[in-house]
């Protein structure tokens, strides 16, 4: 239990990287003169499949690319997009940097936090939504903006935010119904 990476992450367990991810990774590695350089795109591929990066996934990547585990842990922890905690089923990330905050992003942040009853950085108790406050998303001309499951929502108002939250609820119900 002296592994700092597993202490940080709490939950862990066996993982299976599927054939599609493995094939994509093999293609990516060919683009670089050294395998190490493929680390960021490879971590993205693994995270795309698993939704986050448990220690077992990092170990898998280290072995696949022939790198020391510590190297992979160290790089992963530098970049905010690599999730070392299991996120909720959906992710809402609202920008509160300067252009967005000039147009009321902080109100929207508080509005969402209140509706979800969590603070930025937390996940709802049912594991459904992870909510976070982020830095400039490069979409300042249509501020305020947020990312929901990698999709941009722009020129936000409280009504638009409510609409998205409602939709997230419904999508979940539908998915649940089909399972």
């Amino acid at each position: 239990m002296s592994n700092p990476a597993s202490r940080e992450n709490g939950v862990d367990g066996p993982i299976t990287i599927n054939g599609e991810t493995v094939r994509a990774i093999d293609e990516i590695v060919k683009r670089y003169p050294v395998a190490e350089a493929a680390l960021l795109p490879v971590l993205h591929k693994v995270q795309d499949q698993l939704g986050w990066l448990p220690v077992s996934a990092l170990d898998w990547v280290a072995k696949r690319l022939g790198l020391p585990k510590t190297r992979v842990y160290g790089v992963t922890s530098f970049y905010t997009m690599f999730k070392r905690q299991k996120p909720g089923k959906h992710r809402i990330e609202i920008c509160t940097n300067i252009s967005c905050s000039l147009l009321g992003a902080e109100h929207l942040r508080d509005h969402i936090a209140k509706k979800l009853n969590i603070k930025p950085g937390e996940t709802t108790e049912d594991g459904r939504i992870t909510f976070d406050e982020v830095e400039c998303l490069g979409s300042c001309g249509t501020a305020p903006v947020m990312l929901v499951d990698d999709k941009f929502y722009e020129k936000l108002t409280p009504e638009k935010v409510d609409d998205v939250l409602d939709k997230l609820n419904k999508d979940d119900l539908e998915a649940g119904g089909n399972d």
Binding site: P33, I98, E106, E135
Partner: protein, 430 residues
């Protein structure tokens, strides 16, 4: 005044597809370039006066000429699509709507200084831009505009997307190189400059997406055409991203040297609700703020430098009366504190202290002497760090305190913010 070069194809359906690009004369410039010598290309781009659109404004042709002709190690081009500077939202549109322009520009640049591999580093959050650029690369490869022996010229080039993963500092050229090598994005000490020792130890050019997108047009229409579009040494147009309190925020392609007042009051329709202007950040969050008395300035590198600020990435943030400047300063400092890579002490320690002190000033717990303390910390950062991120925090914060000092002092004296919560567009319009 509005001049459509980079944005000319943005509104066409399928503008991002190869068929549409070729229909509009796409890849003709690459053909033309491959029939010239690399030195001829460099001379054309130098004569055009094309300056880097990523922030520093360094002439692109000159940068390419620094790359040694003979090199034992392979040479590389890194295309900077990290677009993280708060206020900036331009490269994203080119990637989404005209990715072949980037590819053609990158191919011409690579040919000019002798690279056979290029990477387009795109910030990880940009899923659609990444998808569009990757598809465009596949199309170009299939059509023979990339790969071995391009258009029978004997020249080989491949280009790949390298996704970032959420770190503003990776936009800095040497951090970008580190990140492209699969490392933490820690900026390198210069010299050696990337043109001598860069990616994988080889000579490397880092150029912004927008910079490279102009290159095919310069090859097609000639350097004189480009140079004539702006003031001396500031040729061409620029993608200006205007955000904040104007009636029509958005992306505008305008000639270099367009007056700032004109951009705010004509191009963008003036202030929202016809309020008074309070301040303008002219070139992205790292550039020192301007007061209303300073907006009769032409938007080009040299004119802005003359009044003590910077052209930066052309991201204009417009701020109306009633906005609390200390609140903006505190928010900006928090951003830089979050993004410091932690390598040098002045930045790692100083920037978070600036953030903490400004936060307490904004929240009514400021102490007499706090503002001078912040200015002192700025002194201890500026010019004393490995990369310019430290300066990028110190410079705009200093300008905010110097130009709006009374407002900061009021916060300390009154033990709170006199402005109240930030007004919201939905409250004021309804």
């Amino acid at each position: 005044m509005t001049e459509k070069i980079l944005t000319a194809r943005f509104e066409k359906p399928d503008s991002y597809r190869l068929s549409s690009y070729v229909e509009d004369g796409g890849y003709e410039a690459l053909k033309k370039a491959l029939s010239k010598t690399p030195d001829e290309i460099i001379d054309i781009v130098k004569a055009a006066g094309l300056r880097g659109r990523g922030g520093a404004g360094f002439p692109a042709g000159v940068k390419w000429s620094f790359v040694p002709k003979e090199s034992e190690k392979p040479k590389y081009l890194c295309v900077n699509g990290d677009e993280g500077e708060p206020g900036t939202f331009k490269d994203r549109y080119i990637m989404e709507l005209d990715p072949h322009a980037i590819i053609e520009g990158a191919a011409i640049a690579s040919y000019a200084f002798g690279a056979h591999v290029a990477y387009i580093y795109i910030r990880g959050e940009f899923k659609l831009p990444i998808e569009r650029v990757e598809n465009a690369l596949a199309e170009a490869r299939q059509a023979g505009f990339l790969g071995a022996n391009i258009l029978d010229s004997g020249y080989d080039l491949d280009i790949w997307v390298h996704p970032g993963a959420g770190a503003y500092v990776c936009g800095e050229e040497t951090a970008l190189i580190e990140s492209n090598e699969g490392h933490r994005g820690m900026p390198r000490i210069k010299p050696p400059f990337p043109a001598i020792v860069g990616l994988f130890g080889g000579p490397t050019v880092v150029n912004n997406i927008e910079t490279l997108s102009y290159v095919p047009h310069i090859i097609n229409k000639g350097p004189e055409w480009f140079a004539a579009m702006g003031p001396e040494k500031n040729g061409g147009t620029k993608l200006f991203g205007v955000s904040g309190h104007v009636k029509r925020p958005g992306l505008y392609e305008l000639r270099m040297g367009t007056p700032l007042r004109k951009i705010i009051y004509e191009v963008c329709g003036g202030m929202r609700g016809d309020k008074e202007l309070k301040a303008v950040i002219p070139g992205g969050s790292s550039t020192p703020i301007l007061t209303p008395g300073e907006i009769d300035v032409n938007m080009d590198y040299d004119s802005l430098a003359k009044i003590g600020t910077m052209f930066g990435s052309g991201a204009i943030i417009v701020i109306e009366e009633g906005t609390c400047i200390p609140r903006l300063a505190a928010r900006l400092a928090k951003f830089y504190a979050h993004e410091s890579c932690g390598q040098c002490t002045p930045c790692r320690e100083g920037v978070p202290w600036i953030a903490k002190i400004l936060d307490r000033v904004e929240n009514g717990m400021g102490l007499p002497g706090d503002l001078d303390q912040v200015l002192k910390i700025c002194d201890n950062i500026q010019g004393k760090t490995i990369c310019p991120l430290g300066d990028a925090c110190a410079m705009p914060i200093r300008a905010m305190i110097v130009k709006f000092r009374a407002e900061f002092e009021r916060h300390v004296e009154e033990g709170g913010c006199p402005f109240g919560p930030t007004p919201t567009p939905w409250d004021s319009e309804s």
